[in-house]
Symmetry: C3
Subunit: 343 residues, 3 copies
């Protein structure tokens, strides 16, 4: 990256206080940064480092006091501004590879412009691959599946037949989209398989971590809405809906037909029962087990889940159970003791 | 699907009340179904929809009251009947692909009749593949492994060397069968690896979800018996036995040498300790942690696991711990208070 | 295996009491072993089987009493000795395959001597593969990644670009190394992706189980130090450090930037919060949730984690909560009752 401070201020929509023609080329911490570097101050408690700061420019909050002579760009969120500059600085120009001769594209698949189908990737019959899509080695795109423009499927991602992935998605390695939902009905001793004839629909700008499993619907669709980001090893069962911009941290498991609203946050290793609803903006603390629906905006924790503040108190008391039993025992002895004078 | 009501009744072993020559071709909900559709009534509480129902035929319980003129097929389990019709309706005729020229079959592997070895699938030396087996792209069948007639390995399934999969199994994408069990013995600072020289044996009619891991035995076998169905991301350690027709819901983990009887059900995210026994027909509630053996037929929940009914009471009391501490404190104050008049 | 007792004693550094030229060729349990077999006695409680033992030689503890005439090799740890003999007995001579014609090695990759790059393995541009490395089918080695001498990547392992794996490592099938860490910053409604520009560094003699996910660092490295052994489905987030010889049992999840010291042991399904430190030699019981740092050598269990001994007491008391509520209620009634005579 090489950019003038004026260019950076324009990129960030920020207010520059300093020389617009100064050129910077690196990104460093506020204490390490030199005259060629951008630094940022997100947490005000580190403001004491500003007087000694030698950075070419510092990204600061709108209201931040700064020493005279230090070039700054004022922005609403310096950390976001840092992420944007880092993105620009580390972006590589996209060079389409085309279809590698060792890739396999079945007859009837349709490829968009400027795709990169790497060696050992597989595209099934009738699949539709958008423009600038990248399919890495070991990827399987099933028959009739669709991948939107600009999406990247990392190595060994499996997209089963008929499933849909939107535009600008990033699907990390080993993730499976569209395996059969877990549906059986007892038939005497045996479990009779209920055909899973629905699909998975993933909307635009979704990022799924590595080794996720998103099951196809029994009928209809399992639906991951736009902007959702999952961590690694997240499991979403058949017919679930994960609302826009929700965040699912690692090892979360969501049972069948459960619906998440917009901007829900589930902590690591959380388990949700099936057929419940998690309202918009609700949050669930890590390792919690949720058996009942949650209202919008609530913060819940624990197994069984309870309001987070109650869990904070309760969870501290669990370790005091031995003491409590002792105290109750003492009361019981005391009562017996205190009765004696009365008898 | 196109079928007469007489044909459907024969398929289901049900009792038809209506015109045997009526033809139906679709499957819909009881309120949406029209004259060409089959509907089903599994839950009696929806019986009130029957009078207005326009379906060509409705699958109902043996004892269900129905309006005059509505064609029905009486069966013991309408939901099972629905699943059977849906299976028939959505089944596609199997057309063997043979061995794709971009698949890799090592010398000495034996292939049955009518197999489908897709592009980029790998079959190792001395492997034995049964009739009508389907191996999707990215599948790895290790040296000397065996896959029974009619089994499907979905994309990127890995079957390590020497492991066995039975007939009519369905193994979903990304599942690993036969990785080394987790066995080490301390050697000073280091952990010395214990060779894992056993195998995994999977019997007939097993379905494993996506991204499971079933470890090979230290010696002998890790054994998944016939009819077992697992959800996604289930982990089974070395030398475990999972008894016939057991159900393991998503993200279950079973430690080494643990034995499950027949028809055990483990809820999502359950963890079992090693070297324990879970009796026939036992059930464990989701997220439970089980450190001790469970008798046949018991239902257990919680960490540590306790009888499910006790867990239902206990788990409601956990959130009342703050109240309980307050009540005990009040008793203690009261006792002190009540002592004063005595002193 | 065919070996004389003298050879075995030399291999183990043990003291032979018996004929040095006796040849044994099998390994069996102490009751099944015959004159051609090695047996071992690790647990003294099975010593009563010694008088009837017909093994060619038994591996015993240094201080073990043995019947006259029974050949033994005395060692500090008979189980370790068994593992060493088993390793020798089951080791196959390594025969390098070279690069299979159906493997894909991109230009600019460097391969060491005596490698085995199996069919359908992929080696990216500029990757460096050490001597005697084995890459199975479906493996992806990203651009610029490095794999040390003698390491085995089992089928469908994914090593993202630029990541490093040391010498003599074993990485089991489906494991993903170097997927992006889970890092986003709010940008109004959306989550803005923070580029993950660090790497994963895995040191020597590490074994990772199947379907693990080890995320690349935001900047710098996620670091798995030498001798670490993980079970299946272990998740390690960005910028974590897992210290030498630590053991992570199945389905463990470690949040970002958490540091584990040397020889830490985490039980199955444990979850660790981010930005905490687990001291050398600390142990965490299975299914525990750890939100705070742990001092070296401590043993913790439960959610929230507490000292293991306290957890053992506490966890027994949870199931007695209904009783405790009843007892408190009785005290409350009693107090009311006892007050009456006072009023």
């Amino acid at each position: 990256m090489e950019a003038t401070l004026a260019q950076l201020a324009a990129l960030l929509g920020g207010k520059l206080e300093g020389p617009g023609d100064r050129v910077v080329s690196g990104i460093k911490g506020i204490e390490e940064a030199g005259a060629q570097d951008v630094a940022f101050l997100a947490n005000p408690k580190y403001a004491k480092a500003l007087p000694a700061c030698r950075a070419g420019v510092v990204l600061v909050r709108l209201e931040q006091k700064v020493p005279d002579g230090l070039a700054v760009i004022r922005v609403a969120d310096p950390y976001l501004a840092y992420a944007k500059i880092l993105t620009q600085a580390t972006a590589k120009p996209y060079v389409p590879l085309g279809v590698h001769e060792r890739a396999v594209v079945e007859p009837g698949a349709a490829l968009g412009r400027d795709v990169s189908v790497h060696a050992l990737a597989y595209v099934g019959e009738g699949a539709v691959i958008g423009d600038r899509v990248v399919l890495h080695s070991g990827v399987h795109v099933g028959a009739g599946a669709r991948v939107g423009d600009g999406t990247v499927l990392h190595p060994n991602v499996v997209l089963y037949h008929g499933c849909l992935v939107g535009k600008r998605c990033i699907i990390h390695a080993g993730t499976v989209i569209g395996s059969d939902g877990y549906g059986f009905v007892p038939d005497g001793e045996r479990h009779f398989k209920i055909p899973q004839i629905g699909i998975v629909q993933i909307d635009d700008d979704v990022e799924l971590g590595a080794n996720n499993t998103i099951d196809r619907a029994a009928t209809g669709r399992t639906w991951i809405q736009s902007g959702v980001k999952t961590d690694n090893m997240v499991h979403v069962a058949h017919n679930c809906v994960v609302g826009e911009h929700s965040l699912l941290v690692a090892q979360v498991g969501i049972s069948g037909s459960t619906k998440l609203g917009r901007k829900v946050v589930l902590g690591g290793q959380v388990g949700l029962s099936g057929h419940i609803t998690i309202g918009d903006g609700a949050m669930v603390g890590s390792q919690s087990g949720v058996a009942h629906s949650i209202e919008p905006g609530q913060i819940m924790s624990g197994t069984p889940a309870m309001p987070h503040k109650l869990w904070l108190r309760t969870s501290q008391l669990i370790r005091r159970l031995p003491e409590l039993f002792d105290r109750v025992k003492a009361l019981e002895s005391g009562r017996e003791g205190s009765r004696e004078p009365l008898s």
